[in-house]
Subunit: 338 residues, 2 copies
Amino acid sequence: MRETTLRDVADLAGVSPRTVSNVVNGYAKVTDSTRAKVEAAIAELGYRPNVLARNLATGRSGQIVVVVPYLDTPYFAELLQAIIPAARKLGYNVLIDQTDGDRQHEGELIGRGSRRHLFDGMIISPLGLAQEDLTARDPSLPLVVLGERVSDGTFDHVGIDDVAASTEAVAHLIAIGRRRIAAIGDQPYPTGEAAQLRTRGFRAAHEAAGLPVDESLIIGTARFNRIDGATAMTALLDRADPPDAVFCYSDLVASGAIHTVLGRGLRVPEDIAVIGYDDIEDGRYSQPTISTISPDKKAIAQLAVDRLVLRIAASEPIPGVELRAPHELVPRQSTLGY
Amino acid sequence: MRETTLRDVADLAGVSPRTVSNVVNGYAKVTDSTRAKVEAAIAELGYRPNVLARNLATGRSGQIVVVVPYLDTPYFAELLQAIIPAARKLGYNVLIDQTDGDRQHEGELIGRGSRRHLFDGMIISPLGLAQEDLTARDPSLPLVVLGERVSDGTFDHVGIDDVAASTEAVAHLIAIGRRRIAAIGDQPYPTGEAAQLRTRGFRAAHEAAGLPVDESLIIGTARFNRIDGATAMTALLDRADPPDAVFCYSDLVASGAIHTVLGRGLRVPEDIAVIGYDDIEDGRYSQPTISTISPDKKAIAQLAVDRLVLRIAASEPIPGVELRAPHELVPRQSTLGY
């Protein structure tokens, strides 16, 4: 028995194949009664839309994929929550993949494979990928990269100015009178590109204030999690000469560090001032509330989606651009005390 | 010019079509050198795997979709973080969709559409869906439902015993001597099925202890967020007869409620004891740490994935089952004080 076609459905429903296609693709411009007729015909004939044929015909699947390292990291969750409505407004459904920051998984997603043909384009926040992986990727995939990368001219990159933001964070600690400032979150290349930019800001703020950097106060961590912050803070407090302030490379790290400080019976910020990074909701409700660098997540999301849709629509390759979203320093109780 | 086929790739690479298929599908059993040969041939011929043909041939896409209402709710983020590795171990890639709890969006996902043919099955945590939407869904979609639903026999349902868990939470507040206990998070049907089960537990614990329920202490909220908890707690503290304990329907609600209590200069738990629900990481690091009901998220994930894979593999429809994951009461500082 031959496969049921879109035309069979159209004939039975008494509508044009184009209308069936609109229903199948979920386009909004179909009336409810027409949609009902088409859906009844689809059900009666047991029609299964040929996804690939549809994609080849329209050149679009109407889907984009957003790839993040960790879904349980609030920064990424909040970013996704901003990307999804921005994409929907432009008619794209968003599906999400997460990689655990694994270089091989990330590489497969941007490499020559089959799965990505399900998508018109990709927004990826890579963690394990080295710059050369991005350069070696499948050039036919419309791609926008988030985070701390540099465009090689074939993809777009959206991020905040991490060095400037980190410099502001540490300058704030210096401005409130702190002189022995630790940094928690340094990481080696390639995973640690974000971390390295933050360490550069840490150094720049010291230099601008004429303060020396105590290298032993720069603490590396495996990830940017609460447990990393708690563990690093324990090591800092066990020193003979603990710091009087800590720049944490994420709000989660700051949350873990504060947990350790308070658990020792010390006060934040009186004994140790703490500033984080990301402005996740948790930091606005915690005790004390957490001073932070707030990246404009809505701006990041809008810039990324707008650029990806432009890239998908372009008939010729368009040059990659660097797009900067704004950020601001948000001082709260963990540095100001009020 | 005719479309490049899988056989063309196999011929050029000097391997079998099956091997090309294995490479295209990302199966692990291909050696690196064979994979390299096949990928070179794919690149040279500009071959685009025919996703639908592959799916029709194997009957599988190797993908499942997990649908949650909100990605920025830590409970769902932590649950996804448990589902993804469980699915990968069984050879499935996971993609994620989020619905904002919108009934129409959720209904489209489980209804007769095209997009779901990209997936072998779906795990959904519905919020807006009414029970009748689940019954009216496309029966050909292998489906596992999470949360507070009841299987109609055609899909599987995985959850904890919410009434028992809520009863334990409120019994704990009674056991530490509290008598004026408020509840924050009640919601109307259909969105509020989770909330209604928790309210039932709230009542059951009072009844078991021979305590009357003060109906005016049951506070409804739009969602289970920090802002909802903070706002409801403000209303409770503004009363002439504030409660001495609060059962919050999520840890986020509890976090918001605690923020309000401490902001008024009151103490947790001395003035007001607070217990939450979900055991998100935040509650283990906050000040005070948050007493909670801990659903076994790994068990929920494993039960859901195992059942979905069984359902996908089944050649005949199999009956839907109710699967219960364990939970436990975890008392912390917000009720015990230590």
